[in-house]
């Protein structure tokens, strides 16, 4: 029996308003409430609500057999609370069925994993507390921002007590054979690694409605045939952005009908079942360890960090942001901590990507900026104001004193 393991990523960033340099030192509110609310309403209406409804129906219909998992970021949950509480309710209904697993994430979908271990761990805890609060579960499997992974990150996650972690089934991983088996971290084999089946996942999230695609139209029958084509493989990891259901692939494309049909066709094949990441980890033996010395992710063709940290603007913004880490540890102010977390959201760095120029590749998620330069300048203006505020909380002299005291 082969397991289909679904994980849907649910994330919304707090997008910044147009923050001009003359606002620096004058205005400390950074967020574009109007855009954030609109985009949340749009995503809720087109995707989250209808998709949750379909999944809930399927879970009831296929009691005990249809299962999925979610990784919902802290910022997404905050925005549900602010703008679309009904979405949160529908996720809680899903949680109560017991057929849905909630995964761990960083609170603000950050890149802390490649910068600061302590900060990274803190954000995971903050996220998991929120999940516990709303869904009354404690995540045991971790999914990093856009599947960012390397051996060291895996080691940290293992040390935190997680039993598994999700990442990209990138072909250039040494020891990679197929994403369709369970693997383990090379430094700590207790941490199991699930690799995304890139082709099948992208069939659903990117190609489904593309009429120029040679396999169009995609039916549940066809998809099930592909999943069972290889007799030996054990798991099909389908990790996709939840907005693919209804937004990237609109309802008119038939994506919901496809999902409604998929469990029936899969279960009737006699060769497939559904499992959550935890169940996969408990049931299967790891095939081998994966060796990932260089950081991978699910971004673009390169599957690396270049989408967030590929040019010098991104590096400057990133380094100047994390240069504040030490001082932030001394700050208890709630607004400061909130802004600090929102500033770290990876989307801000993604907006500064200039790769689109050379690749001709279109980053399809919503981008509030006309150009990467505008994104960068806006971010730096906000960061400048934040830095000035931080200095009033932790004056330079104080910071020195505290350092000396610690010695």
């Amino acid at each position: 029996m082969k397991s289909i393991c679904f994980c849907f990523e649910v994330h919304q960033p707090f997008r910044f308003r147009k923050y001009r340099f003359f606002d620096i030192g004058n205005d400390h509110y950074y967020y574009d409430d109007y855009t954030n609310e609109n985009l949340m309403h749009n995503a809720a209406e087109l995707s989250y609500i209808p998709a949750n409804k379909v999944l809930l129906e399927l879970i009831k219909k296929y009691k005990g057999t249809f299962k999925v998992s979610f990784s919902i970021t802290g910022t997404a949950i905050e925005q549900f609370n602010l703008y679309a509480p009904e979405v949160l309710d529908s996720f809680r209904k899903l949680a109560k069925t017991g057929q849905v697993e909630f995964l761990s994430e960083t609170y603000s979908h950050s890149l802390a994993s490649v910068k600061d271990d302590e900060l990274f761990a803190g954000q995971i805890k903050k996220h998991d507390e929120l999940i516990k609060k709303y869904f009354d579960v404690s995540p045991v499997v971790f999914k990093n921002t856009d599947l960012i992974y390397n051996d060291k990150i895996g080691e940290i996650i293992a040390d935190m007590g997680f039993k598994g972690m999700l990442t990209e089934g990138a072909k250039h991983i040494p020891g990679w054979k197929s994403p369709d088996f369970l693997y383990c971290n090379v430094r700590n084999p207790r941490l199991k690694i699930l690799l995304r089946n890139v082709a099948l996942s992208d069939d659903l999230s990117y190609r489904f409605s593309n009429k120029n695609w040679s396999k169009y139209p995609l039916t549940a029958e066809k998809f099930v045939d592909w999943m069972i084509a290889d007799d030996k493989s054990e798991i099909i990891n389908l990790f996709i952005n939840y907005e693919s259901l209804g937004k990237r692939q609109p309802a008119s494309s038939g994506i919901f009908d496809f999902f409604k049909k998929l469990p029936e066709v899969s279960l009737n094949s006699g060769k497939l079942k559904f499992a959550t990441p935890s169940e996969v980890i408990d049931e299967y033996q790891p095939m081998s360890s994966v060796h990932v010395p260089n950081t991978i992710s699910w971004a673009d063709e390169e599957k690396d960090l270049a989408a967030w940290l590929g040019n010098e603007m991104q590096e400057e913004a990133f380094n100047k942001l994390y240069a504040l880490t030490k001082k932030m540890k001394m700050v208890k102010n709630k607004d400061m901590i909130r802004d600090w977390n929102y500033l770290q959201t990876s989307d801000h760095f993604y907006y500064m990507c200039t790769k689109v120029f050379s690749d001709g590749e279109i980053h399809d998620s919503f981008n509030p900026y006309e150009s990467p330069y505008e994104a960068f300048i806006n971010y730096m203006n906000v960061l400048n104001d934040f830095t000035l505020r931080l200095d009033t909380f932790v004056p330079e002299s104080n910071a020195e004193k505290i350092k000396d005291l610690k010695k």
């Binding site: 001009r20 340099f21 003359f22 620096i24 603007m313 200039t354 505008e374 960068f376 300048i377």
Partner: protein, 444 residues
């Protein structure tokens, strides 16, 4: 294939965008094996060597024939200078400076800078200009009669009547090349006589080349020309062969933000000043330079004083070739806030000189370059933010500077010329197909 081209004098004689573009395109065409260009320009003959000048046309217009060689090509082109006072888009001040050097007393200066032209069109000066255009077309007719060619190519409205005359006498197809329209130059207040000449040229043309889609759309929308007849070929920029060393050194430590171009309504100088005011409110150590002259210069000097930033804004007046190079070398950022710019070659020159640029979306050049900051000309807040960002955040300045240089170095006139050649071939083929079998044109 032989091209009869009605163009404009090359820099450094008159350095405006039009002359620069003609020079670049002709240089590019000279690198293509099967194209020969016979290049005709209006030139006010002054006190230079008169030995190679002959007289032509009803009014005994002086004409001199020269050979011109381009450095990259082993071919030379035939170059005919026709005595005429037609000068494109030069303001009064610039014209006077030029006239001291180039123009003899026998010739009345005829400038067609727009505001002045509007003024002059009501008086006798007006007729002078249109007489001049007409006379030029008569000479064009004689040149067309005495030379062999396959296709006619005319640059901007002053030469359209010449192109039409050449087409009528030879029956060869006419291509007109639009570098700007009166809509751009006048800020919307179009002169009817100029418009009529432009429109007639467009209607008589077998094909129209525009320097951007921005201009292409104006021609389709405002002049009512069939879209199939209009193609965009972007300008390029002559590579700087040697590292030109700046003769002048920056005398101040302050960062310098530069506006370079004619100070006219088309170029949006007031938006530059407004952005300067906003930046100066927030930071020290920066100065703004308006390099160029034009009919709005005095108004801008006054405006800077009103905004109480006159101590930080400097006006250089009209700059010549070397001075432009020096100015660019001293600049940390160049801003081109044009209200309506068919193309705009200045940002490309700045990028060649390693100067990061901010340009308006209302410029044709914004369709071709990516490593620049783009704003709407009226969005002075965003313009100020872009200036501030480039001056204060080192990574974006470095990135734009480096990648912009690389980008602009790949914009070659040879490629533009290839696109022009494609259009020649298309037009000639169409002409050939429409002829009865026995009369086929032989393309050499």
């Amino acid at each position: 294939m032989k091209v009869l081209m009605f163009g404009w004098e090359f820099p450094p004689h008159i350095s405006g965008g039009l002359g620069t573009a003609c020079y670049g395109l002709t240089g590019g065409l000279s690198q293509i094996g099967d194209i020969d260009v016979l290049f005709v320009v209006p030139k006010a003959h002054g006190d230079e060597d008169q030995s190679n000048i002959s007289l032509m046309g009803a009014n005994n217009v002086p004409v001199s024939v020269k050979k011109l060689r381009f450095s990259k090509s082993d071919k030379s082109i035939n170059y005919i200078e026709v005595g005429s006072n037609l000068i494109p888009y030069v303001s009064e001040n610039e014209y006077l400076k030029l006239s001291e050097k180039n123009i003899s007393e026998n010739y009345q200066p005829v400038t067609i800078n727009n505001d002045e032209a509007r003024f002059n069109f009501s008086g006798t000066y007006n007729n002078n200009l249109f007489d001049e255009i007409y006379e030029y077309s008569l000479v064009a007719k004689v040149i067309a009669k005495n030379n062999e060619f396959d296709i006619i190519h005319a640059h901007d409205w002053l030469t359209f009547p010449a192109g039409i005359a050449a087409k009528k006498i030879s029956g060869k197809p006419l291509i007109i090349h639009v570098h700007s329209t009166d809509f751009d130059r006048s800020g919307g207040k179009v002169n009817q006589r100029v418009f009529n000449i432009e429109k007639e040229g467009m209607e008589m043309a077998d094909h129209i080349i525009t320097v951007s889609n921005l201009t292409r759309n104006i021609i389709i929308d405002k002049y009512g020309i069939n879209a199939d007849k209009v193609s965009t070929v972007y300008n390029a920029v002559e590579p700087v062969s040697k590292k030109v060393k700046a003769k002048l050194k920056k005398g101040v430590k302050d960062k310098i933000v530069t506006f370079l171009g004619r100070i006219t309504i088309q170029k949006g100088p007031e938006y530059f000043l407004e952005a300067a005011r906003l930046v100066l409110k927030k930071m020290d150590g920066v100065r703004f330079v308006m390099a160029g002259s034009g009919d709005m210069m005095n108004a801008m000097v006054k405006r800077a004083a009103e905004l109480k930033i006159a101590d930080k804004v400097h006006f250089t007046g009209f700059l010549k070739g070397d001075e432009v190079t020096d100015m660019l070398h001293m600049s940390d950022v160049l801003v081109m806030p044009s209200v309506s710019e068919p193309f705009g070659i200045v940002p490309l020159e700045a990028m060649q000189s390693n100067v990061p640029v901010i340009i308006s979306y209302q410029s044709g050049v914004s369709e071709v370059v990516k490593y620049v900051l783009k704003v709407n000309f009226w969005d002075t807040y965003k313009m100020a933010d872009a200036i501030y960002g480039l001056l204060n955040y080192p990574s974006i300045w470095r990135l734009i500077r480096r990648e912009g240089k690389e980008e602009v170095d790949n914009l070659l006139w040879k490629n533009s010329a290839k696109n022009v050649r494609e259009i020649y071939l298309k037009v000639l083929k169409k002409k050939q197909d429409s002829l009865p079998g026995t009369d086929k044109i032989v393309i050499k």
